[in-house]
């Protein structure tokens, strides 16, 4: 027995440093287990304490020695098919991206055009106010992000301006 009240049984060297950590701050569970072990005077050297089991599980969860699957070997045909799929997906995504960028550019040109028309429409105040930068403008709280399935109440049909003022 050492000064911590621990018997000097042999532990796997890999856990030794972890066990020292647990001695400094013993939890109630580990204390209980320790007393149980010492009082019963078991000589089962292979059995680990609760904290050691926990640490072993922790370590084994992140070690891949026996967990890695077999290498995925594809035959020539399947590899070509896989590459075809990957390539098609990349092209499909690019198409979507390009289309979106093109549409944004068109929208921007339309805004530009509208602002130019407004400038030459006679009321300069209208133009100045319309093209003034709106600092601090935010999306309202009520605006929802689309979800996979709709909410229980799909649309709030009854709404009055007082509701807004309350908030």
């Amino acid at each position: 027995m050492n000064k911590f009240g621990l018997s000097n049984f042999v532990r796997p060297s890999i856990f030794r440093s972890h066990c020292l950590g647990s001695i400094k701050t013993p939890t109630s569970v580990s204390t209980f287990v320790r007393f149980a072990r010492t009082s019963a005077k078991k000589k089962n050297r292979g059995e680990l304490s609760a904290s050691q089991v926990r640490q072993k599980n922790l370590l084994s969860a992140v070690s891949g020695a026996r967990k890695v699957p077999r290498k995925l070997d594809m035959c020539v045909e399947d590899l070509i098919r896989h590459n075809t799929v990957t390539r098609a997906w990349a092209l499909y995504q690019k198409e979507i991206r390009d289309k979106r960028a093109q549409n944004l550019e068109r929208q921007y040109r339309m805004i530009d055009e509208a602002c130019d028309a407004l400038k030459s429409a006679g009321d300069r105040n209208l133009y100045n106010k319309a093209t003034k930068r709106e600092f601090g403008k935010r999306f309202p709280m009520e605006l929802r992000v689309p979800t996979d399935t709709p909410p229980k109440i799909v649309w709030q049909y009854e709404w009055s301006p007082e509701e807004k003022e309350k908030k």
Binding site: L72, M74, I80, R81, A88
Partner: protein
């Protein structure tokens, strides 16, 4: 295995309409997989059709990744649709080329067209399969593109590296910008293409080598090539240095994309003399330079001192400048004196070689 049965059961047989298959260029047979069994395995999946690249035993144990057979038809459809639109663009360019009169413009348009044709077929699984199985036709732009890509990813880099470490550049020519793949084989060393920088026995190199010049671009009408084999390590005792000697010269070589071997009957500038390094000289480099000839230049005369063709003290830089040659590729192998050298000398009726001392004199000659 039960899970394998599950895979088989879950596959929805998605038919490939023949109309869809016709979207790739069907007129060129080299863009199709020739074997019907291989084609079915490639386009319909190896779960239903046995893979032709696996043995019967291996294919029983083989498990195709799940979900691949379901997604492939959609992917194939997307790639075909894209291919169709690219072919349309290419045919429009064709019309423009027919109307264009400016030669430079025509060249630029042709390049654009070729790029489109490559783009249209590069994702075709049948093309990829043919390329992997080495069933290619170099006349077709997409195969040329794939072959160039493969070469420039490994062989070209390796060749430049050997040229640099062996100081072939700048000892012979200032630099190299490889455009063609050059391969060398010796009749005494059958079915083995010589690796760049390899040290060979003089017995192997005692007979003239076979060359392969693989172009990756379309070869213009009347394009000819010149090959020089030189030894830049011939001892030059007078100057306490080395000089270059010309071992072999071939000119007016014509090769095609699908037949890249240099014909053994090509016009010689100078006869082949095998490498016979003298005893105790350092390992000699034997450099093969391949040049594109200028179409308008007059032909180089054989054994003509005016044309710079001379066995000893050959000046390759002056020769290249004089005949307006464009270096496009090269190769290097090495030889040292060995037990066959004297034999080779006797066969060719060459005088007995000198024997140098093992160490170079501390006193400069």
């Amino acid at each position: 295995m039960s899970s394998r049965l599950l895979i088989n059961r879950s596959i929805k047989s998605v038919g490939f309409g023949n109309s869809a298959a016709r979207r790739f260029n069907s007129s060129v047979s080299s863009l199709k997989v020739q074997s019907q069994a291989a084609k079915q395995a490639l386009l319909q999946g190896v779960s239903q059709n046995r893979s032709t690249t696996l043995s019967k035993k291996a294919s029983l144990r083989y498990n195709s990744p799940e979900g691949l057979d379901q997604v492939f038809p959609f992917a194939y459809e997307i790639i075909q649709t894209r291919s169709k639109s690219l072919y349309l663009q290419a045919s429009e360019l064709e019309k423009q080329i027919a109307q264009e009169t400016n030669a430079n413009q025509v060249q630029a348009l042709k390049q654009q067209r070729e790029a489109l044709l490559v783009e249209a077929e590069i994702n075709n699984p049948e093309v990829q399969y043919n390329f992997q199985m080495n069933q290619i036709n170099m006349e077709v732009p997409v195969y040329r593109h794939l072959a160039k890509q493969k070469w420039s990813k490994y062989e070209m880099i390796k060749m430049i590296q050997r040229f640099e470490t062996l100081h072939v550049i700048p000892d012979t020519l200032p630099t190299i910008n490889p455009e063609v793949e050059v391969n060398v084989q010796f009749p005494n060393f059958v079915n083995k293409w010589v690796e760049n920088g390899e040290i060979l026995s003089t017995k192997v190199t005692s007979r003239a080598p076979i060359f392969k010049i693989q172009e990756f671009n379309e070869i213009p009408q009347g394009q000819k090539y010149t090959i020089l084999v030189i030894d830049p390590d011939t001892p030059d005792i007078k100057n306490n240095s080395f000089s270059t000697s010309l071992l072999w010269g071939l000119t007016d070589i014509e090769v095609s994309l699908n037949n890249p071997l240099v014909h053994f009957d090509s016009r010689q500038l100078i006869d082949y003399v095998p490498p016979v390094p003298e005893k105790n000289t350092p390992t000699h480099r034997y450099v093969v330079w391949v040049f594109r000839q200028n179409i308008d230049s007059p032909p180089i005369q054989s054994n003509s001192i005016e044309d710079g063709v001379q066995r000893n003290r050959f000046d390759i830089r002056a020769f290249v400048k004089q005949h307006n040659l464009q270096p496009v590729g090269g190769h290097v192998w090495r030889n040292a004196w060995d037990r066959f050298t004297e034999e080779v000398r006797q066969d060719y009726g060459l005088p007995a070689g000198r024997v140098f001392s093992k160490e170079r004199n501390s006193v400069r000659l």
